[in-house]
Subunit: 138 residues, 2 copies
């Protein structure tokens, strides 16, 4: 049974505003990770700072996760239902296409156990595979 966006935001202690609802919907429609510029282009009337801070707020409250795909431009994608951005259960692989420049979450591909040398403590893992995506490799 699906919750409304309002309920989702409230459950994460984020106040519901018109802007936040719109941005949430925008992210939900996309199946690829988006940049701040993408959001800007989609909401030209809104101020960039507001959009920026909305994404930051979403990130802090585990509504979206930030993706660093190596392009130098931060991308964001909606978390899966039930995600708490936990290192052991929620982290997944990201794929960046060198051809179409899109980055997608491969949420079914969890990050394998990574061993680190003695004395090192893992807190977070970022795994990005680059190459050609399914749409571009036809």
């Amino acid at each position: 049974m699906m919750n409304t966006i309002e309920e989702i935001l409230e459950s994460k202690n984020i106040r519901v505003t018109a802007m936040r609802l719109l941005i949430y919907k925008f992210l939900a429609e996309k199946e690829i990770a988006v940049t701040l510029s993408d959001v800007e282009n989609a909401f030209e009337k809104a101020d960039r700072t507001t959009l920026y801070r909305t994404l930051k707020t979403f990130e802090e409250k585990d509504i979206v996760h930030q993706i660093d795909d190596g392009t130098g431009i931060t991308k964001y994608a909606l978390c899966e239902p039930g995600c708490n951005c936990d290192i052991n259960t929620d982290l997944h692989l990201h794929f960046h296409c060198n051809n179409c420049n899109e980055t997608i979450c491969l949420t079914d591909h969890k990050i394998p156990q990574i061993k680190v040398p003695k004395g090192f403590v893992s807190e977070n893992i970022n795994l990005v595979v680059k190459g050609i995506c399914d749409k571009c490799s036809l």
Copy 2:
């Protein structure tokens, strides 16, 4: 049997200049990945652009590899002897310490086989683990 830096550069078709020798030595001494700023601070007399382009040249010729550790600042580290930055044999894990902010190559920790969905083609993999390094976790 070790080659001289001159020989290494020449074998990669890079002209030997005073600046390049100095930068190579600087990188070789460091056991952590360095930023352009780090190099700048070490060679205050040299122009930043020259240092920047030297690192780019080194990268193109597989003398160094670039590391995107998620801090938003590109880092560079010398490749291992014999490295061709090949996806199957040379890619290794990088560790970024959230405490001291240093990033190191874990060259002994090769990146495990990563499966991607049908239709996707892997060309490169970036795997960064963040946490507390051995020096900081004591």
